[in-house]
């Protein structure tokens, strides 16, 4: 369990965290979702006892991050954003090193990393610096798990990672969750929010919203339309000029248009046709996390 209560932290005149509060229940997979500069890394450093907050309290499984830092360090697995293993040690050596530092052995907790490490096994004699991005990530996760932590903290594990490896990584997290591990994971990818039990949407050091991904999506306050045509960029520009729009954003090859409840499909179609857009397909849709996030940002 992680409890964060009114945590604030400033660097000079920059306020990185502004009275942040949230709670991660035991066994939850909890997402901290927001862009770079939201304060995610600062929060992780406070929770891992590497940095002191200016004010507020935080506990990990009931232990205060300030008073009980030694105990916390033993029970937390941490995968920082930047790859922080020893590049000139092999895969095997890195894993042994981390096990030894935590006064355990790879054999003792091998069952925890079995699924992940299996994919690394063929490269166990290779230096960590020579691994591909996806492999480095798997090794870093193995090293964060080898001392059997009760809480796992992952700071942007999927940044710079391709869509397939991202999916595989989340499958690993889901599997780990079955062992009862409490996991806090941060990400700038909004689509990953949907894979968490609960999420906090963060921006500029503040929480915009906390809830389950489903509830967050359901609480979207506007009527949302998906508009498709042969010319997406033109359609977007024209919808931005639509009198009744609340917002218009490109989503791949379609546009998401938010309006109030009085706007009908016909009104949108008429506006587009008047401005020379053809092959129009309009349908009402349910908002996703990205729609909500952008709405909260404005």
């Amino acid at each position: 369990m992680i409890e964060v209560h009114n945590i604030s932290k400033s660097y000079g005149s920059v306020q990185a965290l502004k009275e942040l509060s949230f709670k991660v229940e035991e066994g939850q997979l909890y997402g901290l979702i927001g862009p770079d500069g939201a304060g995610k890394t600062t929060l992780f450093r406070i929770l891992t006892t590497l940095l002191l907050a200016d004010s507020g309290e935080a506990t990990m499984d009931g232990l205060d991050v300030k008073k009980n830092y030694k105990k916390i360090r033993k029970m937390v697995g941490y995968m920082p954003e930047r790859f922080s293993l020893y590049m000139d040690l092999t895969v095997e050596e890195n894993l042994n090193f981390f096990a030894t530092v935590f006064q355990t052995t790879v054999e003792e907790n091998y069952h925890l990393i079995h699924d992940i490490y299996q994919m690394l096994e063929p490269f166990k004699k290779r230096k960590a610096g020579d691994l591909s991005g996806g492999m480095k990530q798997k090794l870093a996760l193995s090293c964060a798990l080898i001392h059997k932590p009760r809480i796992l903290l992952l700071d942007e594990p999927t940044t710079g990672v391709d869509p397939v490896s991202r999916k595989e990584f989340w499958e690993m997290l889901k599997k780990l969750q079955q062992s009862g591990l409490t996991t806090l994971v941060s990400t700038p990818f909004l689509d990953e929010a949907e894979l968490c039990d609960e999420v906090a949407l963060v921006q500029n050091g503040q929480i915009l919203k906390v809830d389950s991904p489903h509830n967050i999506a359901m609480a979207y306050p506007h009527r949302l339309w998906q508009v498709k045509s042969g010319a997406n960029y033109k359609t977007l520009k024209i919808l931005k000029e639509f009198d009744h729009k609340i917002s218009a954003f490109a989503f791949g090859n379609v546009v998401h248009l938010a309006t109030n409840s009085e706007v009908s499909e016909e009104m949108i179609e008429v506006h587009l046709k008047q401005n020379g857009v053809e092959h129009i397909q309009i349908k009402p849709i349910q908002a996703g996390i990205e729609d909500v996030f952008m709405d909260l940002m404005q």
Binding site: G37, N232, G252
Partner: protein, 241 residues
């Protein structure tokens, strides 16, 4: 009339020992096109980009970029392209104005041109309040928009963008793409890599590298039809997994 080609790649390969990082790829990119260059980590994208930007020579095959041979005319090539990535863009300990002055100078702009460009960018990107702020103190999204404008300060024929929006918030990411479209409409070709599949869908054409080879190339509609997929994410997973 045949459309002008800004990149022409024929049977290009780069080997490291026995490992074929780029394995016999061929494709063209047209003037003013937004060309998406996708692939899994380790598929060979970075190696290909390093050859196309004149940093590395090829093991075999040919390519011309902006009309210059990537092996024989590297200096000329570099003068005629722009480049930015999340990792390498602006000097953090210089201000916006100093960065523009520096890059303008490197690309041979006159003092008058640099002054004009600086004013243009301040107006276009609404930088009034931060023109003398150190780049390290400017939020990432803004920084990336400035970096992009600086990368095209010398009006290159083509600009290479390597994961330009990684970690950027969703609204700024879309503003960044507005800049990409404006730039392409002005005739500068945009060659872009991304891990955001919605962004891949904004491209005029998309290519997908798998283990050193180009396994797919076409417009979004062509790729969706060919791979019977709903969106680019599905195409990516089908090809890369």
């Amino acid at each position: 009339m045949e459309e002008e080609k800004v990149i022409e790649v024929k049977n290009l390969s780069k080997h490291f020992g026995k490992f074929k990082a780029v394995d016999d790829i061929s494709f063209d990119v047209k003037k003013g096109e937004v060309f998406g260059f996708l692939g899994a980590n380790g598929a060979g994208k970075t190696t290909a980009i390093k050859m196309l930007t004149g940093i590395w020579s090829s093991t075999s095959g040919q390519a011309t970029v902006a009309g210059f041979d990537i092996n024989k005319n590297r200096n000329k090539l570099k003068e005629n392209i722009g480049y930015m990535s999340q990792k390498f863009s602006l000097y953090e300990d210089l201000t916006f104005k100093e960065n523009v002055r520096f890059y303008g100078g490197i690309y041979g702009l006159s003092n008058k041109e640099i002054k004009l460009k600086t004013e243009e960018m301040i107006e276009h990107l609404e930088l009034d309040n931060i023109q003398n702020t150190m780049i390290s103190d400017i939020p990432l999204g803004w920084k990336q928009k400035i970096a992009f404008s600086v990368a095209v300060i010398h009006r290159p024929k083509i600009v290479f963008l390597d994961e330009p929006t990684s970690g950027v918030d969703p609204i700024t990411r879309r503003q960044f793409w507005d800049l990409i479209y404006e730039t392409a409409e002005s005739g500068i070709t945009v060659f872009v890599t991304t891990h955001y599949m919605d962004e891949a869908e904004y491209c005029d054409r998309i290519s997908m590298m798998v283990q050193g080879r180009i396994e797919a190339l076409g417009s979004l509609d062509e790729l969706l039809t060919k791979h019977q997929a709903k969106n680019m994410d599905e195409v990516f997973v089908k090809l890369a997994r």
